[in-house]
């Protein structure tokens, strides 16, 4: 078995472009789920899963509440809800206060997943203009998981990965062109 039970990718401004470039190169036989939490405007709903599914052979779907997390699927966090991971490997959605001015908050997903997947969790934080995800990465590290950020030099908006590199212990710093291979090797 692989060293990864789940990969969670968080991002904000400038992260969509990264996803569009990385997804086409992902192996269609990943042995773990990918959960994508990106900030987006409420109401722009169904567009993102559709946009991303055009770029990969993997199944891409927006998360439904209480849905079991399955390997080989790319899940998209719905807009205007926090996505949480339960101990029984199902998704919970939550409409509580915004965190870091954001809902979904990357921190909420990173933190709840950290406790569930522990050393078998990999979290990747991409380009963005606020510090959402940074506290989450600290939790991931505290539970023994792996932290990865986009190389701030390659980010459209470098603030988010930069803040992570300052405040959390980061295991890998990746330029965009190395991300797909890194992810495929987690299988």
């Amino acid at each position: 078995m692989g060293k990864c039970d789940a990969l969670i990718i968080g991002g904000s401004a400038g992260s969509l472009d990264v996803l569009l470039r990385v997804l086409p190169f992902l192996s269609p036989a990943l042995s773990f789920p990918i959960i994508i939490v990106v900030h987006r405007k409420h109401g722009a709903d169904s567009l993102l899963p559709e946009l991303l599914s055009g770029r990969t052979k993997l199944v891409v779907k927006e998360i439904d509440e209480k849905e079991p997390v399955k390997a080989g699927v790319i899940y998209i966090a719905p807009s205007d809800y926090h996505t949480l991971i339960e101990q029984d490997h199902t998704f919970s959605l939550d409409y509580s206060e915004k965190v870091n001015y954001s809902r979904p908050a990357i921190d909420a997903t990173f933190q709840t997943a950290a406790e569930v997947y522990r050393s078998k969790l990999v979290c990747l934080l991409l380009s963005g203009s606020n510090a959402d995800g940074v506290n989450g990465l600290k939790s991931v590290k505290a539970w023994g998981g792996t932290t990865v950020i986009q190389d701030p030099a390659s980010a459209q908006v470098s603030y988010m990965p930069e803040q992570a590199s300052i405040h959390a212990k980061i295991d890998y710093i990746l330029p965009i062109e190395d991300m797909a291979e890194f992810i495929n090797l987690l299988s």
Partner: protein
């Protein structure tokens, strides 16, 4: 929340939930664990609790703090005309159908601080149905109901609410429904006159009437599947034939055995009871 390693374990969460049931009769054991744990951790950190033992003692022995605990671990975030498309369907499809009844009974379950209750009241007024409607707005939490009864909301929200209102098909001047009072917007007495705010616990309380429309949006997401089934049954028991059940954007009746008795209103999370 800046909690690298949670100070409360899953086991301790279970202990607190067992306490609440035993001492106060509040049953949160069917709530989604990740969500309720996150709420408890948030409160623990917000109130700068010293230790789990002290936190637990206070909840069990300080009635005032217990009320705060219930208020804080339940989610009370809401808006007026949230999801304008939903309210548009309510205005154009659902409420006109109910307009033929001599008395329209509506149950808004999990009404929190009341924003949706006043939104529905505004639509009923514009459809000229308010005079023959009754909105039962219920919540588990007496503190939020007290706030709801004051019909005052933050002035700073009015721009957003006004935009939502227009997107939901409203054509009046939204500001005509309230008077500005420094930082607060006080909504008219007329809108409140047909709303009955009351406590009701979906987990433990029974059906209390029959309705033609039941709204319960963004409440079921906090419940596990078993509790969802139970609550949907309660709604079914409380809904007249041809009545409507409205759920939140990410909630569904699809997995329920009751689904076969309902027909979905296209594009929205609204189901009509057809048998």
């Amino acid at each position: 929340m800046n909690l690298e390693l949670p100070v409360i374990s899953d086991l301790q969460v279970d202990v607190l939930l067992a306490d609440l049931l035993e001492h106060y009769g509040y049953d949160f054991t069917g709530y989604s664990k990740a969500s309720i744990k996150r709420r408890i951790l948030r409160l623990y950190s917000l109130d700068k609790a010293v230790s789990f033992a002290e936190f637990r003692y206070k909840i069990n022995n300080d009635n005032f703090y217990f009320k705060r605990f219930v208020e804080q671990i339940t989610v009370n975030v809401t808006e007026m005309f949230r999801d304008p498309g939903f309210f548009k369907t309510l205005r154009n499809v659902v409420l006109p159908k109910l307009g033929t009844y001599p008395l329209i009974r509506i149950w808004l379950a999990g009404c929190s601080t009341g924003e949706e209750a006043y939104s529905i009241s505004i639509i009923l007024k514009e459809l000229n149905l308010l005079h023959k409607s009754l909105i039962y707005a219920t919540d588990i939490n007496p503190i939020v109901l007290e706030k709801a009864g004051q019909s005052m909301f933050a002035m700073s929200q009015m721009k957003q609410y006004s935009e939502n209102y227009i997107l939901s098909g409203g054509t009046e001047e939204f500001s005509s429904y309230y008077t500005a009072n420094y930082s607060l917007a006080k909504f008219s007495e007329e809108l409140k006159s047909k709303i009955i705010f009351s406590t009701h616990n979906l987990v433990s309380d029974h059906s209390f009437n029959e309705f033609q429309l039941i709204l319960c949006r963004n409440v079921l997401i906090y419940f596990d599947r078993d509790l969802q089934h139970k609550v949907l049954q309660l709604f079914d028991d409380s809904l007249e034939g041809l009545g409507y059940l409205a759920l939140g954007t990410k909630e569904t009746l699809d997995f329920s055995p009751l689904a076969k008795n309902y027909k979905r209103v296209p594009a929205e999370k609204i189901w009509r009871k057809v048998s």
